[in-house]
């Protein structure tokens, strides 16, 4: 099992090249929160708690898994461009990364189960610091970089109790490696230039319970996630390669509670919104104190038209949304940064509606120069392909 997880971790790292630049905000303990498994939701500002799965697999609220009508497998990846600016200096960087893989199976009429491997957080930055630093009268330059993040391997089940209520439960193993490098070059040969490497292998568990209540045109969803047993195996390697130090450490990972609601406006539009609160204030951080965070997101989805002889664009789903979230880590001067994004999305069914290509475009800003010294302008394009097979269904259902 460990070998498989290690291979998965390597796969995630290998396919997420860290280019020079990146977001300096990802230098926090766990990195930037990047749980973006559902491209459909991304097109609606990330709103997903009260949205049951359909052509895509929705796992944010375990109860939302119910809704997959056939065996589905899904994979998404995104391309992200980031323009970091301090006002006087702008730097552009980009990255491409696989973000999510999932496999879901409906069992009988009222039960669904799924397994997923999804990115939770990401660390990716590489920056030099101003060369005016000095220690003991000696000038030096620094270069800071980090890479990696933590992933989620989840096992999720959803059960429809009756026409009104659906519940779900997810057990998740959180794991990942984060490496940070600190290169320091002195202005004199007498001092040894160093390049410290700090590796954290983070691991822990999360248990998520959720429910969706449906009444008329309304759906209400909620979930609660508890983190447990988090720790890290750490290794520090200095410039003397044989003088690494290894130690273990217990960590705190946040609990999370989310509420969401949707309202169907006729058969064509559905509007929804989420509010998620996370106890990041209790989570471990590198040096500064965290704060609890919340995220508000909302979006609208225009459903495909029903009928025969429809034009291509009439068969698609169209989405629009926005979200605002606070970041957990404080930076210079103790100020915290926030994010606000606008989103657009489209869902394109193919293979007689069994498969879906979903695309989401997010554009927004992270932090601002006046408060946080650094502003990120982010452009993120996410693609997912969801396949469907009528496996494990009885003959009658396969015909449907």
């Amino acid at each position: 099992m460990k070998t498989i997880l290690s291979l998965m971790s390597i796969l995630f790292l290998a396919l997420s090249p860290i280019l020079a630049g990146g977001s300096s905000y990802s230098s926090s303990k766990y990195g930037l929160w990047e749980y973006k498994p559902n491209t459909r939701a991304l097109g609606m500002g990330g709103s997903s708690i009260a949205w049951p799965s359909n052509a895509t697999i929705n796992l944010q609220n375990p109860a939302a898994l119910y809704g997959v009508s056939m065996t589905r497998y899904e994979m998404n990846f995104y391309f992200e461009g980031n323009e970091a600016s301090t006002g006087g200096i702008q730097r552009y960087s980009d990255r491409t990364t696989i973000n999510h893989m999932a496999f879901a199976i409906p069992i009988g009429k009222n039960f669904a189960t799924a397994i997923n491997l999804s990115r939770l957080t990401a660390v990716g930055y590489e920056y030099s610091l101003p060369s005016t630093s000095a220690h003991d009268g000696l000038a030096y330059t620094q270069r800071l970089s980090g890479e990696g993040g933590v992933q989620q391997l989840g096992f999720t089940n959803a059960y429809r109790i009756n026409s009104d209520w659906t519940v779900g439960f997810s057990v998740q193993y959180i794991f990942g490696t984060i490496k940070r490098f600190w290169e320091l070059k002195w202005s004199t040969d007498q001092y040894l230039n160093t390049n410290d490497r700090f590796e954290e292998n983070i691991h822990g568990s999360r248990y998520v319970g959720g429910a969706i209540f449906q009444k008329d045109a309304f759906r209400y969803g909620a979930y609660y996630a508890i983190s447990s047993g988090f720790g890290s195996d750490n290794r520090v390697v200095g410039v003397y390669g044989d003088t690494g130090v290894a130690f273990t450490k217990s960590l705190q990972f946040p609990n999370e509670i989310g509420f969401g609601a949707t309202y169907a406006i006729g058969s064509k539009y559905t509007v929804g919104g989420d509010l998620i609160y996370s106890t990041w204030g209790e989570a471990s951080e590198l040096t500064t104190k965290n704060r609890d965070t919340w995220r508000l997101s909302s979006g609208v989805e225009m459903q495909p038209a029903q009928g025969l002889n429809l034009k291509w664009f009439q068969k698609n789903s169209y989405r629009i949304g926005a979200y605002y979230q606070t970041l957990y880590v404080g930076h210079s001067g103790g100020n915290y940064a926030n994010e606000y994004f606008g989103t657009l999305g489209i869902g394109i069914p193919f293979n007689k509606g069994k498969n879906s290509l979903d695309v989401a475009f997010e554009f927004g800003q992270r932090g601002n120069i006046a408060t946080n010294n650094v502003r990120d302008r982010v452009y993120r394009l996410t693609f997912s392909v969801t396949g469907g097979e009528k496996w494990f269904l009885n003959r009658q259902k396969r015909k449907d």
Partner: protein, 422 residues
């Protein structure tokens, strides 16, 4: 059943690669942090005399036999004598010793004095390498001086001729097979005000790729003799050069060929830090580094020690002595002469011409901090002990005062702690 997963994955993967290849970073990142990224910690700590767990100075030598130099005389608090034994070959049977002298070749002189009386005594007891200590050969073990020669400081590579008692050698020849007759000699001194260094009988020379004993410089006993040749009905006259033989207790591989005996009339106490040459004083120090974080990376660590002029020997302020530091692999229980096990030389030697030793020991401190269980301390030795002039007599004493931490040994360490490590 239609299986569509592989093509989906393939398309996904190819598209991702396409994006990754075509949108690379366009600018070098620089100076963008703005205080957002957590740097590591760059710190400086000092280990003071209060952090020293053990310290000691030892004369790191058990025997003075087998060396390539002898010392004779007295200067400062040092006294030196020389114990030798010359084996008598069978070829000297039946000869009549006409004359003899001891030829010694000067290697160096120490001290400001100008004269001493060299005295030769016969050793009356069986002795070995273990007796090359000052008090082992007592008055009852020695004959009265049978030869006294006034000598003055001699320039390097100059011969010193010491007349030798003819009768003594004749007795050795007569009793060649009776070793009780030939226990060797002790070269002593009286009224000495300087120390003369000589080449021993063990000095080697290389010529044409061959390594041989250096007969031009080695101490030797020159015997002029004659023997009646009955067949020719005439006296045969020849000269034989005898070199000191290996002292019992050593084998040829150890060297040997006599040795010198020394004493320091004002020896460095255990509670000093002394580095010396000729007499190899080594200073040992063990600092407690537990207050340093184990995850540090040392950028620069320097040990500073100040000279205590009162304990120096043959060293004046302004003189240059080069000190080397070696990491120790020997527990403090075995900080004993010839018991020390050293690691490789740290990249760390520095002169003390300004009366302050500043010695870079970055790699040593790193090893102590990273593996505290391997912290056995360090040893300071003089550079010349391992290079061009291993027999130069001198002694450096360093200040050690628990109530004066600035003048006592201290280590200043500049180090880094990576981001996120407490």
């Amino acid at each position: 059943m239609k299986l569509s997963f592989p093509p989906v994955f393939f398309v996904n993967f190819c598209f991702m690669i396409f994006l990754g290849v075509n949108f690379g970073c366009s600018d070098d990142p620089d100076d963008i942090n703005g205080g957002v990224i957590n740097t590591g910690q760059l710190k400086t700590d000092t280990l003071y005399v209060s952090d020293i767990k053990n310290y000691r100075s030892i004369l790191d030598s058990v025997t003075t036999g087998g060396g390539t130099r002898y010392y004779l005389g007295s200067s400062g608090t040092y006294d030196f004598k020389i114990a030798l034994r010359f084996g008598i070959p069978e070829s000297l049977d039946s000869v009549i010793v006409k004359s003899a002298y001891l030829r010694m070749v000067s290697a160096a002189t120490y001290g400001a004095g100008t004269s001493m009386n060299l005295e030769i005594q016969s050793i009356q007891k069986f002795w070995s390498i273990d007796d090359l200590l000052w008090d082992r050969l007592s008055t009852s073990d020695l004959s009265a001086p049978f030869n006294q020669t006034a000598i003055t400081p001699t320039n390097k590579d100059q011969n010193l001729i010491v007349p030798f008692n003819r009768d003594t050698i004749q007795k050795w020849i007569v009793g060649r097979t009776e070793t009780v007759q030939n226990r060797g000699i002790l070269l002593g001194f009286s009224n000495a005000t300087f120390i003369q260094q000589f080449y021993s009988g063990r000095n080697l020379t290389v010529s044409g790729g061959l390594t041989t004993f250096d007969t031009l410089h080695n101490t030797s006993l020159v015997v002029n003799w004659e023997r009646y040749d009955r067949e020719k009905n005439e006296f045969e006259s020849k000269t034989t050069y005898l070199i000191p033989e290996t002292v019992i207790g050593l084998n040829d591989n150890d060297g040997g060929y006599g040795g010198y005996i020394y004493r320091d009339r004002s020896p460095q106490s255990m509670n000093t830090l002394t580095v010396g040459g000729g007499l190899p004083y080594h200073a040992l120090l063990k600092f407690d580094v537990s207050k340093l974080p184990s995850a540090l990376t040392v950028s620069f660590a320097e040990m500073l020690m100040t000279i205590d002029q009162s304990g120096n020997y043959l060293r004046n302020s302004g003189d240059t002595n080069v000190i080397e530091a070696y990491v120790l692999d020997t527990d403090t229980a075995n900080w004993l002469p010839s018991k020390l096990v050293r690691g490789p030389l740290s990249n760390s030697f520095d002169s003390v011409h300004d009366d302050t030793l500043k010695i870079q020991i970055s790699s040593i401190v790193q090893s102590w901090a990273s593996r505290p269980s391997n912290n056995f301390g360090l040893v300071l030795e003089d550079h010349f002990e391992h290079s061009s002039n291993p027999f130069q007599l001198y002694r450096l004493k360093f200040n050690y005062d628990p109530v004066d931490r600035e003048r006592s040994p201290k280590i200043i360490i500049h180090y880094t702690i990576p981001p996120g490590v407490q």
